[in-house]
Structures are given as C-alpha cells and as structure tokens.
C-alpha cells in the first residue's frame, strides 16, 4: 500500500485541532454504530483530529465476536495470504482434485477389466481383540460421525496443522471422505479371512490407480470388497475379492464413497492437500483412538483395521511406521509398473515374524509369534518394541500361541513349548508360571 510521506505526517500532526472531546456515551455509541448521521459526522470530524480520542476508541472497542461486521484479525497487511486470494486458490485446488479423481477413475476402469479375481479360504489364527466390535456394529459407529466430519472436515482442513504421521493423516482424511451406510452382517466371518485375497485384488486395484509420489508409500490399503461403488457393480458373492475401488469425487458429501479403497481419494487428498492444510491431528488421533481391530492372517501376518474389519493393513513391526507387506509379492503376475510399489517390494525383503497371537486393549497391542517373537505397541501399531520375557535367567522359548491381557497390566502368554508367562505390570517384568 502506498505510504504517505513523512513530511505529510509531521505537518498533519502539528496542525491537528482538538475541539471538544465527545463524552463517553457518544464514543460508545460511535463504536457500536448507533449514532445518527449528523452526530456520526461530527464525532468523526473530531476523531480525525484528536489522537487521544482515537486511542480511547481503539481501547474501548468491543471484542471481536461482538462486532457486527466480520473482520479478519490478521496482523499482516492484506497480501498474498489475504482471504480473497486464499478462497480462490482453494476453489482452484478443489477443481484440480476433482479432475484428478475423474482421470484416475477413468484409468482404473480400463485396468479393472484385466484383473484377476480369486477367492481363497483362509483360517484365522487366535484372535483376542479385547474391543473387537462386530463389523455391522462397527460400521455404523465408525460411519455415523463421518457425515459430520465430512462437512466439517473440509472446513477444518483449512485451519488446522498437518498431522505428523502420514498414515494417520491419510486414514483420517479417508474418514472425512467416506459416507458408508451399514454393511451387510455376513461380513463378520468373511472379513478377516479374506483379507489377503482382497489384498490381492486390491493390490492390483490400487495399482490401477497410479499413486502420486506423496502419499502412496504408506497405507495402501489391503482393500476389501463390498465396495458399493457407483461405477462397477460386482456381485456380492465375490465379496472378499476386489470390488471397484472407484471413488466418487472426493469432496462431495452426497455421494456414497466406500471406506475400503484409499487409492483414488488419496490422490484427491493429495490434490487438496497441496492447496489446503491436510487432515487434522484431531482426525489422526481420532483414528488412533478409534481402537483398531487386530487379526492374524493365515500366513502369519499381523493385520490391523480401523474401520471395523472392512479393510485390513498388514503391519510391519520391523519398521517405524506402518508399511504394507508386499502384496505384489504374491501377485507377481500383476505388473503395473509403478516405482513406488517396486521400491516397497524391495524394502519388504527383511524377515518379519510369523505371528500367531495378538491381543489389543485400547491402543495397546501385544503380538506374538514364531521363535518367541513378542512385540508390543502402545500407539495402535505405529511403533513397535520387541519384548523378551525372561525371569531369573530363563527366557521364553517356543512359538507364542496365545496372548491374553485381562487388563492393561495383567497378561498371560502361552507358548508352544508348554510355557505360561505372566506379567502384572504391563510387560515390565515377567515370571513363568
């Protein structure tokens, strides 16, 4: 903004006449915009020349909420971050997001025609999820808050700071976008077992949507079927297999978007994220606190679901953050060249234990498996610590076959060698029973 020269300022100050100061009532009425025109002009005239009264007026202004006119309280002079600019850039970003979602969807449709659907029965390992909810119960519960979040989420996205964990951010974002009504009750038995299969399809499905570099590394969801997509109607009996992962336009709350696939919305999110602040830490923590379900797949992978069993993610206890166990390894014939995925395959070569048992209490998770591998996480699986129960020289041997925690402190582990280990202080010390 153009400045006025110092000379002008100086001169103005020297020549300012005061006149009679308005009394407190007039000043108050001026501040509250309740003066008639003639009085207002008179007071304005005085204020223009009297810095004392201006100071008083500034101090006596009502608090920001009380002011009838909405004004922003940004201290900076309106520049590039002014509200009008931000508003339009947000609109542009949304448009870009919609376009990118549309493009992805189109491409995915093409690729879906060549997908290979399989259905393989799976046996579940022992699961002791303390707060396991049935999917039908979980689904509405996890979804009921979503419409609200969906409408609010967009608003909130603008204002809050980005969360630190990308997975959480994505998961949270996903919650903002999905609007899934209840799922059929027969999912309960099918859900965990068919995970890997769905993963197979999902792997390819998500492959079909080439991920942008930003967010694809984590949380490529081992997706589940039952996608009530608008665009591809796959019959129900192929439930665990890949249903269309197509996602409608991300920001539209009126469309039914499935919680399973994060592929396309991830892109949409990425588009939106570019312009706006991504999902909040609140969303992130809400997904954390939404007490995920835990399960073991038949080939010993530890899996976690945040949405009541619809989608399962393989947990890699060896790495810091959640990363997907190589799904491509099992579906090598599907070769959607994508850099991210090949990188991830390489990363997964390190051995991870074959899990046999898992126990979860709130955000605290214990998972155990072959060769006495016992892992403990207190943040729903974001970070893992390897524990080795031992007492007076003897350590736990064998495969861990069951873990039971009746409360956060007391736990009991049984191994294939016939041992039973008990802790009363949440894993601090163990003793053999």
């Amino acid at each position: 903004m153009q400045d006025i020269s110092k000379i002008v300022r100086k001169r103005w100050r020297e020549t300012a006449p005061a006149g009679a100061h308005p009394d407190a009532d007039l000043l108050t009425a001026f501040a509250e915009q309740s003066l008639v025109e003639s009085e207002r002009t008179h007071v304005t005239e005085h204020l223009a020349g009297c810095s004392v009264c201006r100071e008083v007026l500034a101090l006596a202004l009502p608090s920001t909420e009380a002011v009838a006119v909405t004004v922003s309280t940004s201290p900076t002079r309106a520049g590039w971050l002014g509200w009008p600019v931000l508003r339009w850039s947000a609109v542009v970003a949304v448009i870009i997001a919609i376009i990118s979602v549309g493009t992805l969807h189109y491409r995915q449709r093409q690729k879906d025609d060549t997908l290979f659907y399989t259905l393989t029965p799976r046996n579940e390992a022992t699961i002791t999820a303390e707060r396991a909810l049935s999917p039908s119960q979980a689904a509405p519960e996890s979804q009921e808050g979503l419409p609200r979040k969906d409408k609010e989420g967009r608003v909130q996205m603008r204002k809050k700071a980005p969360s630190t964990s990308r997975t959480d951010k994505l998961a949270g974002k996903w919650r903002t976008l999905s609007l899934n009504p209840t799922l059929p009750p027969d999912r309960a038995g099918v859900a965990p077992g068919s995970v890997t299969v769905g993963g197979t399809g999902a792997g390819s499905g998500t492959d079909g949507a080439p991920q942008p570099a930003t967010s694809s590394r984590h949380d490529n969801v081992v997706g589940m079927g039952e996608s009530r997509s608008m665009f591809l109607d796959v019959p129900r009996r192929l439930a665990p297999s890949l249903r269309a992962r197509q996602v409608a336009e991300a920001p539209s709350p009126s469309q039914t978007v499935q919680a399973e696939s994060q592929a396309a919305p991830v892109t949409a999110i990425a588009g939106v994220v570019g312009a706006k602040v991504p999902a909040t830490a609140q969303d992130a923590s809400s997904t954390q606190h939404a007490s995920p379900q835990w399960s073991i797949s038949a080939d010993g992978a530890l899996q976690r679901s945040f949405d009541g069993g619809n989608t399962w993610v393989d947990m890699d206890v060896n790495s810091e953050s959640v990363s997907n166990r190589s799904v491509a390894a099992t579906t090598a014939e599907i070769t959607y060249a994508h850099e991210e995925r090949t990188k991830r395959v390489d990363a997964q070569r390190s051995p991870s234990p074959v899990f046999r048992a898992v126990s979860a209490l709130g955000t605290e998770v214990w998972a155990g498996g072959s060769a006495a591998m016992l892992y403990h996480s207190i943040d729903s699986g974001a970070h893992w610590v390897r524990e080795l129960p031992s007492s007076s020289g003897a350590t736990l041997t064998g495969d861990i076959t069951s873990i039971e925690f009746s409360d956060p402190q007391h736990g009991r582990i049984a191994t294939s060698a016939g041992e039973v280990w008990i802790t009363a202080d949440d894993g601090g010390t163990w003793r053999r029973q």
Binding site: A24, D25, E32, A58, L59
Partner: protein
C-alpha cells in the same frame, strides 16, 4: 437528576407516549424507579442530545435507540438503590475487570483501574453533601458495558498521559536535549508552499477519510483495528486507504506546482527525509493544545508492536 434545563414540549409528549411501555420493559419496579423518575431521566437525556427544534417523531425515534433498561439500572444505582446495585454487580463486575485487563494489559494495573472505577461508580466523591456517582452521567446511548469500557479507556489514557508527560521531561534531561545546539529559525524550514499544499489537501478530505488516514498512518494501527473502529470490512479499509494515499499525494503535488514549483522539485520536496529538517520540536511541545503535545508523545501509549512506524518517527525527531 433534577432537570435544570427546560424540557421542550415535543420531547415531553414523546416520552409520555411510550413511558409505560418502557417502564415495564426495563424492570424499573424491581429497582425502585418510579415512572415519574424514569420520565424525568428520559426527558433530560433527550434534551441533551436532540437539537433544539426536534419534532415529536424525532424524539420518539431517538428514545427508541436508547438502552432504557441499562439506563434505568444505572440511574437507580446512582440513586442508591441496593437491589439495583446488586444486580449491577452481578452483571458487570466481572466484565469491568476483564475490560480493564484488555485496556491495561497487565493485571495489577488493570485491578487498580477497575478499583478506581468502582469507587467512582459507587460514588465516593460527594458534592453538596450528596454522594455523586459516575453512573449519573450514563445516558443510555450506548450499551452500559460499552460505556464502562470507554470510561476505563479514558481513565487509562489520562493516567498514561500524566505519567509519560512527566517521564518524557526526565528523558529529555537525560538525553541532554536541553543543551541542544543553537536552534535554527523557529518555524520549520520545510518549504511553505509544501506546507500549505499539505494543509489544503488534508482539508479537502472528508472527516471519515482523514480519520482513516490518521488511524492507519499516524497511529500506526493495523487494518483490522481500523476496520473495527469504523465498523466496515477490512478489505474496504485497505482499498480506501490505498486510494486515499495516492490521491493525497497527487493533490499535494498539484497544489505545489500551482504555486510555482516544478513537478520534479515538488516531488523531491515531498520525499525529503525529515532528519534533514531542523524542525523545532520544542515549539510543538510547548503548545498548550493538549492534542498537539500529546500527538508528539503519543508513542508512549503505543505498547503494541504494530505501531513501529510511529515509534520510529519519534526517534527521528528527538
């Protein structure tokens, strides 16, 4: 509360017209205000603010803009009614303290300010043997809460001026300013043509424009603050200020060229750094007009960071 000023007939009839309604709405019965007293109060207020020849309808609409319930409460408190005082304390005690905190920004000064206001409101001073309360002067044109805030702000500003005026003299003695080099001519050595153009250009602006410019450039307030002061949107303020600053500059230049300066010369005169001018500050300081003296020292009141321009200006002068 006795009206020493004669009440005009239109005012009286306007008051009479809506008296019962106002009396009922304001809960005057609980606080012991009779309809007659309320009528007298309203007549006095209307007479104070309305122009002499106001018609009954004008008086009527004026009365409707008043916050009659708060006016009644305040006057009842001033009259010494205990119920009224209790109600006042319940509603406004916390607000007074919070407003004081906002004004003084520091809790001990705020408490001090709030306590002194209480004393004044309660009426510790007496005149002619009767207790005089500051609430007597409340006329209901603005909300009582706003009025309390304004009164706090006024008291605060006055205190600051008193202390800073004393302190600034000490500062000058410390800086050795009283031993300044032989002073140049008494009036500023800025070009008189420049000065007259500036005066003319400023005078040509409307009051509101000048208020905008003063609040932003002289006081150094933020756009948001200026917008709140005037009750307009911030972007409106921004646009107006930009336009005004440009047109002001143009007008000054035109004024100077009309008086015979060349355009180039005029522009240079406008841009000259003040430090090169030997402006006599003492003259300004010595003026009796409180506004002028205050304006020079005004940065004393600006504790905020946004007023850096004003502060810088002061340093240049001294």
């Amino acid at each position: 509360m006795s009206a020493t000023i004669p009440i005009a007939a239109p005012v009286r009839s306007a008051v009479a017209g809506i008296l019962t309604e106002l009396h009922a709405k304001s809960g005057c019965d609980e606080i012991g205000l009779t309809p007659e007293s309320l009528a007298a109060i309203l007549c006095a207020v209307a007479t104070k603010y309305l122009p002499a020849g106001a018609s009954e309808s004008e008086a009527h609409s004026f009365l409707l803009t008043l916050h009659v319930d708060e006016l009644a409460l305040a006057r009842a408190c001033a009259a010494g009614n205990n119920v009224a005082w209790e109600i006042f304390l319940i509603r406004y005690r916390e607000k007074i303290y919070q407003s004081a905190l906002r004004v003084a920004r520091e809790s001990s000064a705020a408490r001090d300010l709030a306590d002194s206001l209480y004393a004044e409101l309660y009426g510790t001073s007496s005149r002619d043997g009767e207790r005089v309360s500051k609430l007597e002067s409340f006329t209901g044109r603005g909300s009582l809460e706003g009025w309390l805030r304004t009164v706090l702000a006024q008291e605060f500003v006055n205190r600051c001026r008193r202390t800073k005026h004393l302190m600034s003299l000490d500062e000058e003695i410390k800086d050795g300013a009283q031993f300044a080099a032989p002073e140049p001519e008494q009036s500023s050595s800025a070009d008189p043509r420049l000065e007259s153009s500036i005066d003319a250009a400023l005078a040509a602006l409307s009051g509101e424009d000048r208020l905008l410019l003063a609040a932003y450039y002289l006081d150094g307030r933020t756009l948001a603050e200026v917008a709140r002061m005037l009750g307009v949107h911030e972007s409106t303020v921004s646009r107006k200020l930009d336009k005004l600053a440009r047109s002001l500059r143009k007008r000054i230049l035109v004024g100077m060229t009309r008086q015979g300066m060349h355009r180039r010369e005029a522009e240079e005169a406008l841009e000259v750094d003040v430090r090169d001018l030997h402006v006599n500050i003492r003259c300004s300081l010595g003026q009796d007009s409180p506004a002028a003296a205050f304006s020079v020292k005004e940065d004393a009141l600006h504790f905020r960071q946004e007023t850096a321009p004003a502060r810088r200006w002061k340093k240049l002068e001294i």
